[in-house]
Subunit: 361 residues, 4 copies
C-alpha cells in the first residue's frame, strides 16, 4: 500500500531514484518452470531506453538488466525474481539551475509538501526513469503470456493533431509498430509525426499524444467483479504511468454519442465460438473479459520539461523563473508504447493467476 507495488499474485515492487545508484524491480509470485529468454528481455528494455532515436531525450542510459535471483538456468524458480538496472548517466550539475525551484507541472512541489523536503537531484522517485523497472517486469510477464498465445500490441495512435489511420487494430503486428521511430503503424502519419516532433524540439517545446493498445487471445472470464474489474485494473495501471491524463476502453468517450441500440454488441455464433459483431465493449463486459480483443487508449500530456523560460515559485515560496537546460523528451509517446504494453501484461497475468483460484483442482 505504500505505493511501490502493483498486482496481487504476480506482484511487482519497484525501487530506486533516478539519480541514485540503481533502480530495479522484485517480482513475487511468478509461477515456476517458465523459460525466460534474457536476450528478449533486453530487447524490450531497449524499446523504452532513452537516447535510442532522434525523437527521444539524448540522456544516455544503457539500461542493461542484471538478474539477481528467481531465474536459474533460464527457468523461473517460483521465488522472487529480482532485477537491477544501474544508473549511469547522472549529471547532477545539470540540475543546478533548477535547485530549489518547483518545475511547472512536475512533482517537485507535491513531493515537497508530501515528504517535507526537496530532492534537488531531479525527479528522484517521480522520474519516468522508474518505468524501466516496469518494462523489465512486463517483459517477463509477456514471455509467460506468449506461452498461452496472448499477445499485446501497443502503438502511437495520435501525436498532437496527427492521427494514425488504423483499419483493423487486431491486425497490427509488432513489426508494423517497430518500422518507424514514432511507433506508429500508419507510415504516412508516422512521417508527419516525426517531422512535427523534431520541429517542436527545435522550438524547445513538447507534445503529447495517444497510445492505443490491443490485447489478443485473452481467455474468457478474466477480471474480478465489482471493484477489481479488468478495465478498472487497466485504468489504474495506465493512470499510474507518468504524464497520463486519460484512459478509455472500447468505445470510450465516444460511447456518449451512441444510443443503446447502436452501442450494444450483438452476440453471434462463429465457428462454434460465441463472438460479438461489434466490440464497443472493448473485450470486457461487466468487468470480465469476453474473449474478444481487449482494446483501449491512453492519453499522454505534452512533456512538462521544456527548453523555455517559465515563471515559477521556489521552496521559500518566492516567485522566480526557471529555464531547464537539460536534455528532455520532446514527446514521450513513442517510448511510452512499451510501458503501456508492460502494464497491460502485468494486469493480464495477475488476473490469469486469480482466475485459477475459482476452482480447486
Amino acid at each position: 500500500m505504500p505505493g511501490s507495488s502493483f498486482g496481487n499474485l504476480f506482484r511487482i515492487t519497484t525501487f530506486g531514484e533516478s539519480h541514485g545508484k540503481a533502480i530495479g524491480v522484485i517480482i513475487d509470485g511468478c509461477p515456476p518452470n517458465y523459460n525466460i529468454d534474457s536476450k528478449k528481455l533486453q530487447e524490450e528494455m531497449d524499446r523504452r531506453r532513452p537516447g535510442a532515436s532522434k525523437v527521444t531525450t539524448q540522456r544516455k542510459e544503457e539500461d542493461k538488466i542484471e538478474i539477481l535471483s528467481g531465474i536459474f538456468e533460464n527457468k523461473t524458480l517460483g521465488t522472487p525474481i529480482s532485477i537491477l538496472i544501474h544508473n549511469r548517466d547522472n549529471r547532477p550539475d545539470d540540475y543546478d539551475e533548477i535547485k530549489n525551484k518547483f518545475r511547472p507541472s512536475h512533482a517537485d512541489y507535491t513531493y515537497f509538501k508530501k515528504y517535507g523536503f526537496f530532492d534537488y537531484r531531479g525527479g528522484g522517485r517521480s522520474s519516468a526513469r522508474e518505468t524501466a523497472s516496469r518494462v523489465a517486469a512486463g517483459a517477463i510477464a509477456k514471455q509467460i503470456l506468449k506461452t498461452k498465445d496472448i499477445e499485446i500490441i501497443g502503438y502511437t495512435k495520435q501525436i498532437y493533431d496527427i492521427f494514425a489511420r488504423i483499419k483493423d487494430p487486431s491486425k497490427i503486428t509488432l513489426k508494423d509498430v517497430e518500422k518507424n521511430i514514432v511507433r506508429c503503424p500508419d507510415p504516412d502519419a508516422a512521417k508527419d509525426m516525426e517531422e512535427l516532433i523534431l520541429n517542436t524540439k527545435e522550438e524547445g517545446d513538447s507534445l503529447g499524444g495517444i497510445v492505443e493498445c490491443v490485447i489478443k487471445n485473452v481467455p474468457t472470464g478474466l477480471g474480478e467483479p465489482v471493484f477489481d474489474k479488468l478495465e478498472a485494473e487497466l485504468a489504474k495501471s495506465m493512470l499510474s504511468i507518468p504524464a497520463v491524463k486519460g484512459f478509455e476502453i472500447g468505445s470510450g468517450f465516444s460511447a456518449v454519442y451512441k444510443k443503446g441500440s447502436e452501442h450494444n454488441d450483438i452476440f453471434i455464433k462463429d465457428n462454434e465460438q460465441i463472438k460479438t459483431t461489434s466490440n464497443n465493449s472493448g473485450g470486457v463486459q461487466g468487468g470480465i473479459s469476453n474473449g474478444m480483443d481487449i482494446i483501449f487508449r491512453v492519453a499522454f500530456k505534452p512533456t512538462a520539461t521544456i527548453n523555455k523560460e517559465q515563471k515559477t515559485v521556489n521552496t521559500k515560496g518566492e516567485e522566480t523563473s526557471i529555464h531547464p537546460k537539460g536534455r528532455h523528451d520532446p514527446c514521450v509517446v513513442p517510448r511510452a508504447v512499451p510501458i503501456v504494453e508492460a502494464m497491460s501484461a502485468l494486469v493480464i497475468i495477475d488476473n490469469i493467476l486469480m482466475q485459477e483460484t475459482k476452482k480447486i483442482s
Copy 2:
C-alpha cells in the same frame, strides 16, 4: 483481492445480489469518534434510488439503510460499520423472457464463462443495484470529509450530444445540481436533456453521457507515488462503476492538442499560498494532490437494457433473440452522479488516512 473490497485503510466490502434478500456494505478502518447523521445518509441514498423521477427506471426500491454495527449513539466506534439494504421490488417473473439468454452488452455471458453457471434472476452481483452499497459507504466518508471542509460535487456534464455550459466548475454547489432531475447545473441544457431522455425512453432506446466531478479543499500531499497515484486510484474507482467506458483528469484527452508551453500549470503565490494559474493537472501532479481543485470526467455508455428486440445467443450456444420487457433506466447518468461522488469520497478518505502514516507523531 477477490474483488468485493475497495480501499486499504478505510476499506469497504460490498455484498449481495440484486435478487437476493439484501445487499450491504462493511466499512473497516473508519476512525472513531466522528458524528454520523443518519438522516443525511438516507438523503444520499435517495439521490441514487431508482424510481425517484420520470427519467429513471420505475423499479421501486425504498433503499432504507439499516446500520447493524460500528456506530453507537450517532458516533463511529472505530469498529466495522455494517449497513444493510433490503431488496424489496423483486419480480423474478419479469426475468422469464431473458432466462438462459445472454443479454447484449451485459455481464451474463462473461459471468457464465467465469463461474460456470447462469444466475437467471437477472444481473445478480453485476447489477448496478450493488452501487447502493457504495453510496452508503461514500455517504459516511463524505460526512467525515466535511469536518475537514472537503466537498465533492458531481454533475451531469453531457447527455448524448447535449453539453452543459459550466463557466467555473469550482463554483457549482449541490443546490445547483439538485435543481433538476438530470442533475445538470446548466438549466437550459438540463431542460433539453430531460426532453431527450423522455423521447428516447419512448423509443425504447437509451442514452449515455458524461459526469464531471470537482473535489474542493483537498489537502496538499495526498496520493502514493508510483502505482497508487491519486489519479490512478480515482481511475480505478470510476472504471469499477457499471457502464463506465472512460476516465480523464484535468485536461484529459484534450491535453493532446496542447504543447508543453501551453499545458504546463504555472506556479504563483496567491495570498501566501502556492497556486497554479491554470489547472490542466486537475489538482494532481506526480500522483499527489497539489491543493488545487481535483477535477475529472467519467464517460458512461448508453444503458445496455433497451425495450427493443435484439439478436443474441443462449446458454446452449444457439442463436436466438431477446426483448426484455422489464423496467429500465433510459439514461443512468443522473443517478450515476452520487455514485461518482461516493467513489471519490472513498478514494480521498483512504489517502488522507495513508498520509497520516508519513510521520510518526
Copy 3:
C-alpha cells in the same frame, strides 16, 4: 489491514459488537458451485453456542445464522457470502456494575486508550462473541475441504493440570470428541475435567487449558515460503482468538529437549508414497505441508471474568474495585474447540486457493 479481515483469496471480514443488533461475516472469494448444507452449518454454530451445557456460560444465544447472499439453491455462487447472526440476549443492566471500570485482563483499558472512549456495553468488538462469525465462515470452508477429504479435528488436550491421554491423534474422530461436554476424547480425563470446571465455577473462579488440533489429508505443497509459511498463518490465526497465549506445532516447545539426530523426521517410502517415520515437523517443513498430518496445540488462559471482587482502576484513573455479577464461562476451552477448527479451515482453504496459482492451467 484495519484488522477485521482474515485470509487473502478466501477472505473473511467479520463485523458487529457483542451488544449491537447483530454480528456477522462476509466471505469473499469462495469458489463457485460448491454445495453447502445449511443444516450442517447450524450444527457447527451450535457447538460453539453459549448456554449449551453446564460447563459454559449461561448467557443464552440462539446463534441462528441467516444467509443473505452468495448461496442460491444450496450452491455457492462465487459472489460474497454474507451471514448474519442476530444478538438476542442483551442485558445492558448486567453491565452497570462494570461501567467505567477497567475489567482486569480484559480489553477495556486498551480499547479505551486506542479509540479514546469506553463502550460501557461490555466487550463490544473485543468480546468472544465475535468468534461466532468465524465459526460460520469456517463451517463453509470445512464443507468445501470435505470434498477434498480434508478433515480437521480439534479436542481438549488439557484443562488446568488434567491431561488427556491420546495414543494416536490421527485416529481421533469427531464422534470421540463430541461424546462429552468438555470435548476431550479421553473419557477418564473428561470426567475429571468436567468435575474440576464445575467446582471452579462454584468458587467463582476460572480455568484455562490446551486445545490440540489435527488436520488430516492435507495435500503436499501448501504454504507460501518465507513470511507466509503455513505454520506462520496458523500461528497468527490462533493467536487472534481471544484468550490464546501460545501456539506450538509438531514437537513445539519440547523440540528444545531433543538433539538434531533425534528430532529429524526420516523420509521413507510407504506404498509408493513418501512419508516420515516421526512427525516432529507437525506436517510442515520449510513452511510447506509435507503430506503428513498437521498437528498443533493452542494454550488458552483462564477466563478473565470471574465471580470475585478484584481491585482495578476506572476511566478517571482512580483506584476502585470490581465484582462482575454477570454470567461467565468458567472455562472457554470446550467452546474454543470449534473456533480452533474454524480458523484452521480458513488457513487451509486460503492456501489451497493460493497453490492453484503456481501453475497456469
Copy 4:
C-alpha cells in the same frame, strides 16, 4: 501474498536464493526524514553473520550491505529503501553429496512438491540465509523506534536443558546479552551452554533452544482488533523464522496452570500512570498493547543439518542415505537472537504507523 513480503505500511519484501548472486530487501513505506546510521546497520548484520564465533557455522559471509535507494545523505527519503547483500562463500561442490536427496527435516521435499523441481544448490530460498535481509530491514526499523525510546532486547533463555536464570527481564541490556557468544545474560548458564554446544558439534549433532524477547516503552494502543492483534502479528512473524516450532506471550503455555484469580493482571495507579501489578498478559490485552513491557518466547528446534549419516529418499522416490559434510550451525539460537529482534521491530513499527490512521490530524 506470494509470501516474500511482510508488513502493510512499513512493508518489506525480501529476495534472493542462498546460492544466487545476492539477496536483499526492499522496504516500502518507511517514513521520510529519519536519520539512519549505516555503521550501526552493519553492526546489526554482524550479530547475525555466520562464522563470527566458534559456536556458529564456519561458512564465511561478510554480509556487507549496500544501500541502493531510499536513503540520501543519511536520511530516509520516504521512497523504497533497497538493500543488497552479495553472496560470496558459495561452494556448490559441497552440495554434490546431497544432490537429488531430500535432507531430513529440511524444505527440499516440500519445495520439490510445491514447485515441481529440485534446486540442487542447497536450500535456495528456504535457507536461513534469507534472514540476513530481515535483519537489515529490522535494523532500520530499530533506529526509527529508538527515536521513540522503544527498545527491543532478545536473548538466549534456554539451550537444550540449560536454563538462564533471569530475575527481571525488563532490566536486561544489550550489553548483558553481547557479553558472551551464546547471547545469554546469565553468565553461568552461558558458560554451560557454550560447552554443551561445542561438545554437541564434536558429536556431529545439533541443539535447539528458546529465545526470550522484551520490547520496552511500547506506546499503549498498538495492535488492530480481531485478526491483526499485536500478539497474532508477533506470532506470525516468529513462526516465519526457519526452525521455529512455538511461540508464547506473557504467561504463555504456563497460563494453563493458573486460575483466573491468579492469572488476572490487576490495574493500579503508579505515578499517574496506569500499570498492572503482574504481567501475565505480556503487555498485550485484547490484541492491543497496554503500555507494560511486551514479553514473549520463541522455541527453536535443533538444526536439521547434522554431521551424521541418516536414511532418506531421493527425487526418484528411492530410499537412500545422506551424510552432509558441509559446515553447519550446531545451534542456531545465538544467531537467532537478532532475527527475533528484527521481526519484532518490524511488527512494532508497522503497528505504530497503523495507529496513526486512527485519527485524522
